[in-house]
Structure formats: C-alpha cells, structure tokens
C-alpha cells in the first residue's frame, strides 16, 4: 500500500500553445518545467539542461520572439504563446538560418551544448540591432555560459551572422 499517495498527486492542467509553428495540446502537471515538457514529452532534445537554476542558458528558447530560460519557466505559463526552440530556427526552405550558417562557418561552438542559447540569443539580438558592436554582442550573450570557446569564436560568429543578415536584407 502506498502511504505517500496524496503527496504525489497534482491536478493536471491543459496546455495549449504553438511550438516551432505547430499547435500543441497536452495535459501536464503544474510543476512541469517548460524544459522537461519540450524534451521529455515533445522529444525536442536540442534544448539542453545545464543547471536548472537559470544561470547557464543551455535551455534557452524563445517565447513570442523573446529569449527565455526554459528550465525556470513552468510549462503551464506558456498558454497560447509561441515557442521557438533551436529545432525551429531553420528557414522556411529547410536550410540553415543565417545565424546558424555563421555559427557553423566561424566555429561559434565546440561541444555545442550551449549552442541553443547562443543561437537564439544571437537571433534575438540581431533582430533588434542589425549591426551590434563587439561590446553589445558580449552584453547580449552574458546570460549564456560557454565553457569551451572563451567566447571569442562566438562573438566572431555573431558578427558574421550580422553581416549575412544585412547582405540578405539588402538583396
């Protein structure tokens, strides 16, 4: 006989939102983090767990176009919102986005565990500021830890991405 049954019970909630452009509906427990829901239930494993305290940024996603740490976001709070994960970054043609392309070309990653955060943060930054200075890039990335690169190649990749995006918009 289970003695602690009551302690384990949580009422479930109905979550409806969009993930990478697709409508999603799920019964979840209120304590489920957005990170766990994306990874465990939707199998979108491109979003990573690094600290569960919101410090490392490996779990970064976009909520309505703004970056957020999915490990400290309860899934139940994203009702009717649009979620974008790293898997949703590709362009409409299925090709890599200019930011992704620049990160690959300029080696803006090594182990790439932090890549979801770096790519989404860079994407957000370049939407707001198409030609950021090095200091602006570093400030924008300050919520994301990378342990491999020392940030030098990431900063270079963001600059390269800015150049690609400006070229594309000039076309």
């Amino acid at each position: 006989m289970t003695e602690n049954f009551e302690e384990l019970i949580e009422d479930s909630v109905l979550l409806q939102c969009q993930v990478n452009g697709w409508p999603r509906e799920a019964e979840i427990t209120p304590s489920t983090s957005l990170l766990d829901w994306l990874r465990d239930d939707l199998h979108l494993t491109g979003t990573h767990m690094g600290c569960m305290t919101g410090h490392c940024g490996a779990c970064t996603v976009m909520i309505d176009g703004r970056v957020a740490k999915s490990c400290i976001t309860l899934a139940a709070t994203v009702q009717r919102r649009q979620i974008t994960t790293i898997e949703g970054l590709r362009g409409p043609d299925g090709g890599l986005s200019p930011v992704q392309q620049a990160f690959w070309d300029a080696a803006g990653f090594q182990c790439a565990y932090c890549a979801p955060g770096m790519l989404l943060t860079a994407t957000e930054l370049l939407k707001q500021n198409p030609d950021p200075t090095e200091q602006e890039i570093r400030r924008a990335l300050a919520g994301n830890l990378c342990r491999c690169t020392g940030y030098q190649s990431i900063v270079r990749a963001v600059r390269e991405a800015a150049r690609l995006l400006r070229e594309n918009s000039a076309k």
Partner: protein, 806 residues
C-alpha cells in the same frame, strides 16, 4: 613525413570548418541525456550531509512505499553484487596508500556528498521524491578539511585503518640543491595557495545503462572520455566479461577531465539495470557536479638566485589537498605538478617534495591542465616575486633562465625529455601581440593619474600525450580507415571527442593522406563495439595519436587503391596520383578513375584485378609516439611524455582599488603546439583554456563551512566567466615541430589554464606594486584584493591616524 606537405590542395593547415556541424547548430546532435528507451527508469542518489560520520542504519523501506518506485538499495546490498571500482591510476602503483572504492558507502562516510543509497523509479520526479524518504542514521565524527592540519600528528584519519592522511610524499630531486642555496646571492621564498576550483562542463555527467536480455549484456550510454578503459572497469566491478559490455559515448557536452571514469554512479546504474532488467538513467545535477574538486595545492617555493638573476636552485615543499579517496584519476594531478618542475627553466639543482594528502573534502577528478597548471602557477608567481624583490625585470629574468632553443632534446632534472621549443621566441611574440611597449607607457602614465594598470607575463610548459606504466593511461592509440564499395570513407578511432573538434582535424589528415574530398569522410568515435581499441581523450593526445594512427591507416589504404587502380588501368602503380577522389596516371594519357570505381572493384573482383591487393579496402594502424621511456634510468626516473607543448601568456589588467575588482583589458598568447592542423580549432582550444584560467583565478572557488559541508552548490556561488568578462585574445602560433610525432604535432587541447591564470596574478600584483601589495593566496576575488589593499593602507597609515580610526 606527409606526402601532402607543400600541396596547395591540402586540408591540413587550413581553417576547415567543423565536420557535420549542421547537426550541432540545428539541435540534432545527440547527447547522452537525449537517449530515452522503452521502459526507461530513473535513478536518484541519497548523499551524505556529513563530511565524516559512522553510518548506524540505512532504511530504504520508506522509499519503496512510494508509488512508482521500482528499487531502492543501500551500500551493503550493493556490495553483494558489485566489487570495488578499480582505480584509474592506483596510488599503490606509485607506492602510495590505496583503498578499495565502493559505489555506495558502507558503515562510514568520508566526505560531504558521498553516495549512501540509491532509488530507482518510473520517472525522475518520483525518484527524487522517494530518495527523501530514505532514512539514514549517522553518528558524525570529527572531519579534517585542511591538508596541513591533516598532516598534524593526532589529526582525524580520513580512511579507517590508515595510520595517517598522507597518500604519498614524492621527492623530485636532482643535483645538489643544498650547495646551490649555499652559494646563492639571495634566496627568495614565496608561499602560493591555489584554491579548489573545477572544470564544470555545461553538460553534467549522464549515464544510461540498458540491460540487453537477448545477450545478457549491458549497453552503457554515457558521458565518457575513455570508453574502452571504462569497459574494463565496469567488467571488474560488475563481475561480467568485457565482451558482454558495450560502451557508447555519444556527443559529449564538454569534459575537460571530469568525464574520465571511476565515478561511483557508472557501475551503479549498470547494476540497477541488471537487477531491474530495464534501462536505468542517472542525470547528475549541478549541485552534484560541483562536488567534484581539483587543483587545491599549497606551495612553499624558494629560489636560490645569483646576483644577475640566474636561478641556481629550486626548492618547493608542496602539499595537495586531494580530498577523500576515489577511483577517478584526479589525485594524479599532484604527481604531475611535481614531475613538471621546473617547467621551462634550465635550473638542474632541484629539491621538490609533493605531499599528496587525503582530507574529508569530496574527491578530485582530472581537470584540464592535470596538475601542470599548478606547476605554472607556483613557478611563475615565485619568479615574479623574486624579480620584484631583486629589482630585476621579470621578463628578462625568465628569458635568462629558459632552456635555450639549441638545447633540445633537453633532459629535465625530474627525468623528462623535452622534445623541442623556442621559449624566448614565444615570449617575444606574445609581447608583440599584446602591444607591450604601448601598455607599459600607459601603465606608467596611468600611475600618475591614480589608475592601477598592470602587465603580467607567464609561461606554461604542458607535457602532452602521457603514458603512465601499469595504468590505462596509455601513450598509443588505433584508428581504422575503411573505404566502402561506394567509395565513401569511414574513419573509426579509439580516441574520443569531448567536443573539441578533433574529428575534423583527423578528417583533414585522412582526406590529405587518402586523396579524397573531406566531405567523403565520416567519423565514428566512442563506441567500444565498432571502434578499434583505444584509450580515448586526455592529455592533449587525440590528434597526436588518433590522427597519427589515422594517417598510417590512410596511407595503407591509399597504397591498395593505387595498386588496384594501376591494375585496372594497366599502368605501373608508381604512376598513380590520387587527388580529391580522382585517380589519374602519369603513364598513359588522360584516363581517370573515381575512388568509387576502384572501391567497387576491390569488393567484387577479388579473383582477377583484385588479386593485386588484400581485400577489403581497409586498414587498422596503431601510432605509438617515441621519446616515452618507461624503463627507469639510473636515478629511477621515467619519461611518460612524448610531447612538450608550451606557450607564453601576457595580459594587461586594471584594478579598481576602491572595490578590488579586476578588469582585463587585453590578452595575448604565443603558443607552440607543433604543426597546426586547423588554426580555427587550435585558436578555439587556446581561448577556451584561457577562459578557464581567467575565471579560475578571478572568480571560481569551491568553498566549505568549518564542518565540511560544501557551500558552493550552484552557479550562483560558482561564478564562471561570461562573454563580458573575457577580453579579446590575440593568438600567435609559434611552432617548432615535435620530431617524434606525426607531422610534428604536440597537442593543443589541454594547455593554458595555469599560464593564463599566472599571467593574471602577475598583472594584478604589477598593478598593485605602487601600493606595496602582492597577493599569492588565490583566487583574486574582489573582496580578497580589496582586503589586501586595505591591509597595506593600514600598514602604511601613520600610527596616530590608525589609533583615531580605531
């Protein structure tokens, strides 16, 4: 050695972008925690809240009553099914004290966080919850946390049954240090305290053991740097033959030594999978990851100096606080610290002892630098201090004492043989890249305006590619090159990647040696069933040995292709040229073949043209670099390293003397990693190591309360550098090729933590020199720097004012 030398079409030497990088930027790379299997169970560990205690009773029945719990186990039950975990490097190999390591504590805990029990449940939340229902009755006993205190007579003994806490005290002595100190013009002593800090990859450790009912075997998916040696360790602990265990190390999210094995959770999840006959997964949380320590050492360095600043003798009484015993290879870092003395300097009269001490802090594991960072910190801080005391220029003092570039191969006083280098050249080029003269003027004029700028230089000699006799730290490795009937190329290798880019480097080598486009190559690493036997990733070895072996295998396969192509074309084999997948002959006109045509023939025409070769189109080779010597010399010394990478680190900082905050304005490194395969990847390694050094010396510290409870439990407390904290780094390649490795490689992955950290300390002390402040107790956090400035101010303030202030 390479046929591709001087070839414009060569991949080697170029900034080729990362192979298969689209998976990484699109979120499709699969890390261990991304694997989820049918019937997946989750494990959660119960850990000791005490640094030292007797375990009176463990009761897991409360956990077993929670709905969804499948199994719960404490130490005694686990020991019925599991033997001790074999040591990666057994201290007994070096004549030290050794103790069997159990996955779960039995009767006694010797550090905070030691695993005591484990709970397995249908989901991770239930496992965590149920773990809180395990009752453990402890009787806390006195813990010892400080290494010096642990050596005092009558100190609490960490390991029951040991007479004292010294694991071993190793001498590294040569020449006549006593005489050198007698004839010295001056002796300068420096006491350096290196704190406990850690590597903290963003991906924590994850293990997922799958019980294979069909073969009664286990497939272990894990964050492992060394799958083959881990298979041996698991087979011993689990009492299973190695041929029933398969280790798969998928994409790894950074390792830096922390994912070398010996961790209790590895064998434990396998046992749980075998007992439940279901897949069992364990994901380390950050709090657990922060338990793994490293680097904490105390050095009392004395330099015997001539009037001109020649180092005549070196004495160091070093003590390493390696925490509680473990099967991981962490403690060996302290051995390397001693062995690497006196770094790049030519002093031969040496009297160094390294006392490796057990305490009730959690255990160490290997950390990038593997003790060589501590050598650099101790030496480089001591030299700056000596130069300051003597009124000499610290840069000139270094150049004066370096092993000169004509002296290689150079026998070090501890028995190592340095392969090659140009240390003075690296210093010169690092200062050029820094803009030394400009910064010197800026510093001097700043001082008049109340700005505290400082310039720091430090050198690091980083032996790479190590091989320790009698352990699974081996010097050689193997690679297989396989060309399939369609002409595509598979490279399988025993070295693994923690995400450094070594697969790209090795693919560049194979593409050149084989004569194929790099896009035709795919690499498989980290699978004990498909890859040739190898030792994985450590000691900056991957491209040296994995790449060397791949080059040899590619050459063998190329010879087969050339022979077969010659037979197909009816021309002499010597006339065959293979470039970017196209086979030409200089003998007959313009007839060409593709690799695919030759490959198909190799598999389908074994009894006509194929008789000229031994099918299939495949070769496995082993590369075993020279210079390593395991037969002791007349003084009983060995040389475990084939390769001696080295670099000069230079930095400029500004100290805010009101807050103690240090800001780096510029960083430069001139390094010698031998031949550069891919400048993009090498620069990435150098910059990454520098951010380890900068963060480690300015912010990162693992702290404990007086009873041994760890206070550092998350990234709130463990502060690693962010993009804004890092200055731009100018990277200069100043290479001298290693004569005993493929293409002169020296290794580029490990070096830089100690050299960059020491450069920062020297810069801070230079900045604070006008205040009479120099700090050798690390890290240089703002409060510590501020306190040192305040103490100096109080010392210098007139006595009357001091009384007033009181």
């Amino acid at each position: 050695m390479s046929e591709s030398g001087g070839n414009d079409a060569a991949y080697v030497g170029r900034p080729v972008r990362v192979l298969q990088g689209d998976a990484f930027v699109a979120g499709h790379a699969k890390y261990t925690s991304d694997f989820q299997f049918q019937g997946q169970l989750h494990a959660h560990l119960v850990r000791s809240p005490h640094a030292a205690a007797r375990i009176k009773r463990v009761d897991v029945s409360g956990a077993l009553k929670v709905a969804g719990v499948v199994m719960a186990m404490e130490g005694k039950e686990a020991a019925e099914h599991l033997d001790p975990v074999p040591h990666y490097i057994d201290p007994a190999v070096f004549g030290g004290k050794s103790v069997p390591i159990r996955c779960l504590a039995i009767d006694h805990v010797w550090c905070y966080g030691q695993p005591v029990a484990v709970v397995v449940a249908e989901d991770k939340r239930t496992a965590r919850y149920a773990a809180s229902k395990v009752l453990v009755e402890y009787e806390p006993i006195l813990a010892v946390l400080d290494a010096e205190a642990a050596l005092e007579p009558g100190a609490p003994v960490v390991v029951p049954g040991w007479g004292d806490n010294s694991i071993m005290a190793l001498p590294f002595a040569n020449g006549d240090a006593e005489a050198a100190f007698k004839r010295a013009h001056r002796v300068v002593g420096t006491t350096i305290r290196i704190h406990r800090f850690s590597t903290q990859p963003i991906e924590t450790r994850v293990y997922n053991a799958v019980w294979e009912e069909e073969t009664e075997g286990i497939t272990f998916y894990g964050t492992s740097q060394n799958p083959h040696p881990l298979r041996y360790v698991l087979s011993r602990a689990l009492r299973m033959p190695e041929n029933r265990i398969r280790i798969v190390a998928p994409a790894v999210g950074g390792a830096f030594g922390m994912k070398m094995h010996g961790h209790p959770e590895e064998a434990l999840v396998c046992l749980l999978a075998r007992r439940t006959r279901r897949p069992v997964k364990w994901v380390e949380d950050r709090e657990e990851c922060l338990l793994i320590g490293a680097r904490e050492q105390l050095h009392r360095v004395e330099l015997a100096l001539s009037k001109e600043g020649d180092i005549l003798g070196l004495r160091d009484r070093a003590i390493a606080n390696t925490g509680a015993p473990s099967a991981c290879p962490g403690w060996g870092m302290a051995f390397l610290t001693g062995l690497t003395m006196p770094g790049p300097y030519r002093v031969q009269d040496l009297d160094v002892t390294m006392n490796i001490v057990a305490t009730n802090k959690p255990s160490w594991n290997a950390s990038r630098g593997y003790g060589k960072e501590a050598t650099a910190l101790a030496l480089e801080l001591a030299i700056d201090n000596a130069a300051r005391e003597m009124g000499l220029d610290p840069i000139e003092m270094r150049i004066r004492n370096f092993v000169p570039k004509e002296a290689f191969p150079y026998p070090s006083p501890t028995g190592l043989v340095y392969d090659s280098g140009d240390y003075a050249g690296c210093v010169r080029r690092s200062l050029e890249a820094l803009g030394y003269e400009v910064w010197k003027r800026e510093r001097d004029s700043g001082r008049k305006e109340g700005r505290y700028l400082g310039i720091g230089l430090a050198y690091e000699l980083t032996p790479e590619g190590g091989a320790i006799p009698g352990t699974m730290v081996a010097g050689f490795d193997s690679s297989t090159v396989r060309v399939s009937p369609d002409g595509s190329v598979l490279l399988l290798t025993g070295v693994t990647t923690p995400g450094t880019g070594n697969p790209t480097g090795m693919a560049q080598i194979v593409a050149d040696e084989l004569g194929v486009p790099i896009e035709a190559i795919r690499i498989v690493q980290g699978d004990t069933t498909t890859c040739p036997y190898g030792f994985g990733n450590y000691s900056g070895r991957s491209t040296i040995v994995g790449g060397g072996a791949a080059a040899m295998a590619a050459r063998e396969v190329r010879a087969k292709i050339a022979t077969l192509a010659a037979a197909l074309l009816g021309v002499p084999a010597e006339s065959i040229r293979i470039e970017r997948g196209v086979i030409r002959t200089s003998a007959t006109s313009d007839k060409t073949l593709s690799i695919a045509e030759v490959a198909y023939a190799a598999y389908t025409r074994a009894y006509d043209v194929g008789l000229s070769i031994t099918p299939p189109l495949e070769a496995t080779c082993t590369f075993r670099p020279g210079l390593i010597r395991h037969t002791p010399d007349e003084k009983g010394r060995i040389n475990p390293y084939p390769s001696y990478s080295n670099a000069a680190y230079a930095t400029v900082c500004e100290v805010d003397i009101e807050t103690g905050q240090v800001r780096l304005l510029k960083f430069a490194v001139a390094h010698d990693c031998g031949k550069v395969i891919n400048p993009l990847l090498v620069e990435g390694q150098a910059c990454g190591a520098i951010s380890f050094g900068v963060g480690g010396i300015l912010h990162e510290e693992i702290r404990f309360d007086s009873r041994g409870k760890q206070l550092t439990q998350s990234f709130v407390d463990y502060v690693m550098p962010r993009a804004l904290d890092m200055p731009g780094v100018a990277v200069v390649h100043h290479d001298s090729p290693n004569p005993v490795t493929y293409m002169g490689l020296k290794g580029a992955g490990e070096a830089g933590v100690g050299g960059s950290a020491a450069a920062v300390v020297n810069a801070v002390n230079d900045a604070l020199a006008p205040l009479g402040v120099s700090i050798y107790e690390l890290p240089l956090t703002a409060p510590r720097v501020w306190a040192a400035i305040e103490a100096a101010r109080r010392r210098q303030a007139p006595p009357a004012r001091r009384e007033q202030a009181a």
